[in-house]
């Protein structure tokens, strides 16, 4: 393709390196930026630069953070003996949005997957074991995806924790709230029948 401007070509090239963005979309985005006030584009590039150079991983939970210790880990009101193991920052945000959880997190930053060349050593599992070993933790909640890789990672973490005096739990699976039984997939429904719980009125 021939571009009228070398500078434009540069922007299109860079944008199209992003996932799900092709040459055509990159072109549309760059034209959009050109139509906006210059301040808009400058604000964007500034935000990207700050984001990339300013963020770091929290030294305690390994979540993305602006400071050495993230807001959640620094919060003394939270229960630091309760540790929820999740795959990445998206899961932390999802659980935080429920406003139900008052413990802290441990972010693995991935799942075990030999096909993608990711082994346990590439995740933050050793740091998790360290925390448990130092008797900082009473309960570990495994909150990973129910995919093959998620289940296997849970199983691996469980195996490594077995010998420590720590309670290991996993999040419940079952029928979504306000869902009709007849529309629930057979697998979930079957599992929730098999793993039924004592009746308790929940408001």
């Amino acid at each position: 393709m021939h571009y009228p401007s070398r500078l434009m070509e540069q922007v299109v090239e860079e944008l199209s390196k992003l996932p799900t963005i092709g040459k055509r979309t990159a072109m549309r985005l760059s034209l959009h930026l050109l139509k906006q006030q210059p301040e808009q584009a400058i604000a964007l590039s500034h935000a990207i630069e700050q984001f990339r150079t300013g963020t770091q991983y929290c030294e305690q939970c390994h979540n993305i953070s602006d400071t050495a210790v993230c807001n959640i880990c620094a919060n003394t009101m939270r229960d630091h003996s309760l540790l929820c193991v999740v795959e990445d920052v998206r899961d932390v945000m999802a659980i935080e949005n429920t406003a139900q959880y008052k413990g802290v997190y441990h972010v693995l930053n991935g799942l075990v997957s030999p096909m993608d060349g990711i082994g346990p050593d590439d995740l933050t599992i050793n740091s998790l074991l360290q925390k448990v070993q130092n008797n900082q933790v009473a309960e570990v909640i495994l909150a990973l995806n129910t995919t093959v890789e998620g289940e296997t990672t849970s199983f691996y973490v469980f195996k490594r924790l077995q010998h420590f005096n720590v309670k290991v739990t996993t999040i419940a699976r079952g029928i979504a709230h306000n869902d009709a039984l007849e529309y629930t997939d057979e697998l979930t429904l079957g599992k929730s029948i098999a793993n039924r719980i004592n009746y308790e009125y929940v408001r």
């Binding site: 096909m115 060349g117 093959v148 296997t152 199983f155 691996y156």
Partner: protein, 359 residues
């Protein structure tokens, strides 16, 4: 359930065809290359949203045309359902039921059950064990969603475990716990699949052999059985025994992915010792057994497509087959054949009503 009207537009070698169909028996005759099988394939397409021959979708469009349209009217009880499949070159295919488009194709598959018997079934005898596992898996997955789930998990885990074994070899290291987590998932899913396959084969075996003797008028001493390493070792034992071998080959050498179906005649391998006619009879028996399980599961008779009915069978066996599939256990049947006089004589002798399509 039966298909009362079929219209085909620019599908494979057909430009435009409209057929009114008989609720019980439809005979399609024509010379080689006239497109008999392609009509069956069109009916297959309406049920499964893809060609029986698994060709790339664009190849199903008639040459030098830009799209194809298939339409069928199905009578179910009192009602009529209209199914429309169309594909435009370089676009997504659309499947509509009663003028309403599906969001996902999987919602459609299974609503209009169908079994195809084709000379191509010979792959079940001559190809590797994977074809035979696929055959039983496709039947079991249809009525046991848990089976399908375990199978998908098993296959994914197997790939992961093999990748890990190869990683160990390449990097000259080993970590027992890392391997164990994959092994134990294989054992858990594998045990479920093994038990399901054993139970299934207990029923299926008798169905196949029963159908065989009905078509052959004798049993020819054929047998079918399920072979699995798990008959000898428990899963845990087997995995432990093969650990060293797995570590040196970088492959998982024990498990249900090694299972096979064994077909024999007079205690000898069917593919070597049976005549072509006996082999064909056996393959028919497999498909018709699949048919009766599918019928039991759906509660209504699926469509039965018999491609090239005289392929390798003698007239006696064809007559038995016809009698069998025209019985009450079967619904609408489609038969293709090159030479109509033989088939027509047989049908007229038995005073059977049918619809004849000549290409």
């Amino acid at each position: 359930m039966y298909l009362s009207k079929l219209s085909i537009l620019q599908f494979k070698n057909h430009a435009e065809q409209n057929f009114e169909l008989h609720p019980k028996l439809n005979i399609i005759t024509g010379l080689n290359g006239s497109g008999k099988t392609n009509i069956l394939d069109a009916i297959y397409y309406l049920s499964f949203c893809k060609s029986y021959f698994n060709t790339a979708d664009a190849l199903n469009i008639k040459r030098d045309n830009d799209f194809f349209v298939l339409q069928g009217n199905y009578h179910i009880g009192e009602g009529v359902e209209n199914v429309l499949c169309s594909l435009k070159r370089n676009q997504k295919k659309t499947i509509k039921r009663n003028q309403k488009e599906y969001e996902r194709l999987t919602e459609h598959i299974g609503l209009f059950p169908l079994v195809m018997v084709s000379p191509n079934d010979i792959v079940l005898l001559y190809e590797g064990s994977e074809e035979r596992r696929k055959f039983i898996d496709s039947i079991l997955s249809q009525y046991d969603k848990n089976y399908l789930h375990n199978l998908l998990q098993y296959n994914k885990t197997l790939q992961q475990r093999n990748a890990l074994l190869k990683f160990f070899i390449e990097n000259n290291r080993f970590d027992a716990i890392s391997l164990e987590v994959w092994t134990e998932t294989l054992i858990k899913c594998g045990n479920y699949i093994y038990t399901a396959r054993v139970q299934f084969m207990n029923v299926f075996q008798d169905l196949v052999l029963g159908t065989y003797s009905q078509i052959a008028n004798q049993n020819d001493n054929v047998t079918i059985y399920y072979e699995s390493q798990l008959a000898t070792y428990t899963y845990a034992q087997g995995m432990a025994n093969s650990l060293q071998r797995d570590r040196s080959t970088g492959l998982t050498t024990f498990g249900i992915h090694k299972d096979d179906l064994i077909f024999k005649i007079d205690e000898q391998p069917l593919k070597k010792m049976a005549s072509q006619g006996q082999q064909k009879t056996f393959l028919l028996a497999l498909r018709l057994a699949q048919y009766s399980l599918l019928r039991k599961h759906c509660g209504r008779p699926p469509l039965l497509l018999l491609d090239d009915i005289y392929d390798k069978l003698d007239t006696l066996r064809v007559a038995n087959l016809l009698q069998h599939v025209l019985g009450d256990a079967f619904g609408q049947v489609f038969i293709t054949h090159t030479n109509n006089s033989m088939l027509i004589t047989t049908l007229q002798q038995q005073a059977i009503e049918y619809n004849h399509i000549t290409l």
